[in-house]
């Protein structure tokens, strides 16, 4: 093929109204919904089937969870700001907000690991101690991996991937938009995880 791009790499498709990457990302998110949906269903089945601790008997800390929820929501906001800045052709600001998102995610992970996982494990609440903890570690762990994946992608766009901005700012901005979509989804998962594990 010559050096031209595939159709709809940049310009939206008339029917779907999306460029290829965005459409692909939505499909990917559909599969992610099925993944977390399956795990939530598993949680419900285990909870109705087994002897789960009632509310208040487990030792998850609502304040810590709430702080982390707050951090993630903020990171969604900074993510939107980053995209908007690139869209408005302000890469300096865009990079700043992207960096902010990375830092917030790291804070989330740090709190999660340092003040939650390690504490729980120290108290003997390991995954094999009870299916409640098993599914808790499993789902929040998987969510944490999604956060980590997002961080890696964002760091890529901040460092080696930033070259694309100079070559093709529109394509770069599109990628940031996709990253943002993914990021909102990951946040949304947490918005479900938090009440399910901490409050119910």
């Amino acid at each position: 093929m010559s050096s031209e791009l595939l159709p709809h790499t940049l310009e939206p498709h008339p029917v779907t109204g999306m460029y290829n990457g965005k459409f692909g990302l939505w499909l990917f998110l559909a599969s992610e919904v099925m993944l977390f949906g399956a795990l939530f269903s598993a949680y419900i089945l285990l909870r109705t089937h087994g002897d789960f601790p009632a509310h208040g008997e487990h030792s998850l800390s609502v304040p810590i969870g709430a702080i982390n929820t707050f951090i993630l929501i903020t990171s969604s906001v900074t993510m939107v700001m980053a995209w908007a800045s690139f869209k408005l052709n302000d890469p300096g600001k865009g990079k700043f907000y992207l960096m902010a998102t990375v830092l917030l995610s790291c804070a989330f992970l740090f709190i999660k690991i340092k003040f939650e996982y390690l504490h729980k494990i120290h108290d003997g609440h390991t995954p094999d101690s009870h299916t409640f903890y098993a599914i808790y570690y499993c789902m929040t762990g998987l969510h944490g991996l999604h956060i980590l994946g997002g961080v890696v992608v964002m760091l890529y766009f901040l460092l080696p991937g930033f070259g694309l901005w100079h070559k093709n700012p529109q394509q770069f901005t599109n990628r940031i938009e996709c990253t943002g979509l993914y990021w909102h989804f990951v946040d949304l998962v947490w918005i479900f995880l938090f009440p399910v594990f901490y409050l119910l």
Binding site: T9, G21, S31, F36, L45, T131, C138
Partner: protein, 588 residues
């Protein structure tokens, strides 16, 4: 996207190994999956020896199989039998048929049929292949770790799979754990692939190619991709849970109070549910059945239209049926679980949905059969395979009925009847269709035709042996012989049907031999077959508008679609085919 490293002369590695061209990737998928199919089949040829001649040393290969599979005399061990069975199922389904039907045919043919220069995400496409490859290698490596490969069936039901391969093995590098890791890789590969397929089909169709002008094969791939996209994640979730059970001793699938070999399993907290796995597994695995069959139906549709020289009957009906099948396949899964203690309400629901899903299958088959009416049938080699698909798929489909009626399933569940049923769908069905597809598109890929004589030598014995293998299984199953038995002659029912069992086995070895002409044909024709032009079959769809083999970027000039996919024998025309890309002014 792919432009940068193709501008200058690409090296061998980036052209053939880490290629981003959908055609090269398609060929890579095809070759790899054919090798896996052959390997999975070899495992079964070994198992068939033990079934035909229980407790006798395996000839030829018995001494080579190693301590986890055979004893000192080269007799297959029961746990070896279980390992081969589990690996046969897994390899055939996840490393053989799906990668061939979707990764191979889908990748190669689909973009050509929609007139696209490539898949929407070429690099992602390459990643899918290599993740698949890695998954395959991982899966195979489990034969060599202490304790051998996974042996809890391709369904991997816990608690058996949770506790399997744990004694005298590495805590992590053992059969079942590797199986799970490999599955996660294979699922990831399929997910990447299906996103790519859907975006490509929706976004990259050429001008004029509306959804209802798409070749039926593309529709089949489209629905298949949705099934992969939505059904696989729950299995991935289940795989992660089982991995945690095995590695961290969690109890997702472990109920309280388990005692294995007299030892209380108190490393587990208990409180889990073995049935949770089955629900998650079959939520994938029933749609998976349609993933195995839909691309094959698509291929058969293409071949039939081309060789009957008339439009496929009821194109729209076919498309709607396939879409309906896709939807319904998500609500029938528990027909695999009738005997897990299900009450009347649940069973009524699932047997009703199962009966409903049989209707579109009947419609599809009927449409294909009606396409033969008033046709002008050419018995080319691909057509032979496609035609043989129809009755054998019918047998496979029909024998699903008694299994879907929960009362009849009481007697038939987990017997050889089930094995016969689904193999008629996937082996005499899908495999024959896929082979036909290889004969059909071979000229496009290589620019050469496969030998017809060798094709006949391949087809007829394969057709006969397929039935020799699988038909007796219905009788064996009805007689009450359970599946997955190392030695069915432990039961008097098994002794009674031993001659049927032997017949199956000899059929399997015969089928193995019958593939020799194919292998010879494949390699011979690739290098020395008769050269052909762009459209050797006088076909209508867009892939035949590209040169054979198509260059990088596929079409010399971007085609435009002027009509539906199967305009054969249009009245009052000179030629009996009107290719999609030729404007009206030039066809009459």
């Amino acid at each position: 996207m792919s432009s940068d490293h193709h501008a200058h002369n690409p090296g061998f590695i980036s052209k053939y190994v880490f290629s981003v061209d959908h055609k090269v990737i398609g060929v890579q998928y095809t070759i790899t999956s054919l090798l896996f199919l052959f390997f999975g089949f070899t495992l079964m040829m070994i198992m068939r020896w033990q079934l035909a001649y229980p407790g006798e040393s395996i000839p030829l290969v018995g001494g080579w199989l190693g301590q986890y599979l055979v004893d000192n005399n080269g007799v297959l061990l029961p746990e070896g039998y279980n390992a081969l069975g589990a690996m046969h199922g897994t390899i055939m389904v996840f490393l053989g048929v799906v990668p061939l039907a979707v990764g191979g045919f889908g990748n190669y043919v689909m973009p050509l049929q929609i007139g696209a220069p490539d898949m929407a995400f070429p690099k992602l496409n390459m990643a899918s292949y290599w993740v698949y490859f890695l998954g395959g290698v991982t899966m195979l490596s489990s034969f060599f770790v202490p304790g051998g490969a996974a042996n809890s069936g391709w369904t991997a039901y816990p608690p058996l799979s949770d506790i399997a391969n744990t004694v005298g093995t590495h805590p992590f590098w053992n059969g079942q754990t590797i199986w799970l890791l490999a599955m996660v890789l294979l699922i990831t590969s399929s997910l990447l692939g299906s996103v790519n397929f859907i975006v490509t089909i929706v976004h990259l169709r050429v001008k004029g190619l509306t959804m209802f002008r798409l070749p039926f094969f593309v529709w089949a791939q489209f629905v298949t991709s949705f099934l992969l996209l939505l059904a696989f994640p729950p299995l991935e979730a289940a795989g992660v849970l089982q991995l945690m059970d095995r590695v961290f001793d969690t109890s997702f699938f472990i109920p309280s109070g388990l005692v294995v070999s007299g030892v209380v399993q108190d490393q587990y907290s208990g409180g889990g549910s073995p049935l949770l796995w089955q629900h998650l597994f079959w939520f994938l695995a029933h749609p998976e059945v349609y993933v195995l069959i839909l691309p094959a139906i698509g291929i058969v549709g293409e071949i039939i239209a081309n060789n009957t020289r008339r439009p496929l009957w009821g194109y729209k009906t076919l498309v709607y049926s396939v879409i309906f099948l896709g939807f319904m396949s998500f609500v029938v899964w528990a027909h695999h679980m009738f005997l897990t203690g299900m009450g009347t309400k649940m069973s009524t629901f699932f047997q009703t949905t199962t009966m409903i899903i049989s209707i579109p299958s009947v419609v599809i088959l009927t449409a294909m059969l009606l396409s033969l009416w008033q046709a002008s049938i050419r018995f080319t080699v691909p057509m032979l395979f496609a035609l043989s698909f129809l009755p054998m798929f019918a047998i496979g489909g029909l024998t699903g009925l008694p299994l879907g009626l929960s009362a009849a399933d009481i007697q038939l569940h987990d017997t050889y009847y089930v094995i016969g049923h689904f193999h008629y769908v996937v082996a005499p069905g899908t495999i024959m269709a896929l082979l036909g597809g290889i004969y059909f598109w071979f000229p496009k890929v290589t620019g050469r035709k496969m030998s017809t004589m060798l094709g006949h030598l391949h087809f007829w014995p394969s057709f006969i042996f397929m039935n020799t293998i699988f038909f007796p299984m219905f009788m064996v199953g009805l007689a009450g012989v359970s599946r997955r038995l190392w030695d069915q002659t432990e039961y008097v029912q098994g002794v009674d049907v031993q001659s049927w069992v032997r017949m199956s086995s000899w059929g399997a070895w015969g089928l193995g031999l019958a593939q020799l002409p194919f292998i010879i044909n494949f390699f011979y024709s690739a290098f020395a077959g008769k050269k052909v032009g762009a459209n050797p079959w006088n076909a209508t769809t867009l892939e035949w508008a590209a040169p054979s083999p198509p260059p990088h970027g596929n079409f010399a000039e971007v085609p435009v679609a002027y009509r539906g996919p199967y305009e054969y024998s249009v009245p009052d025309a000179k030629e009996d085919f009107h290719p999609q890309h030729v404007p009206d002014s030039q066809v009459v």
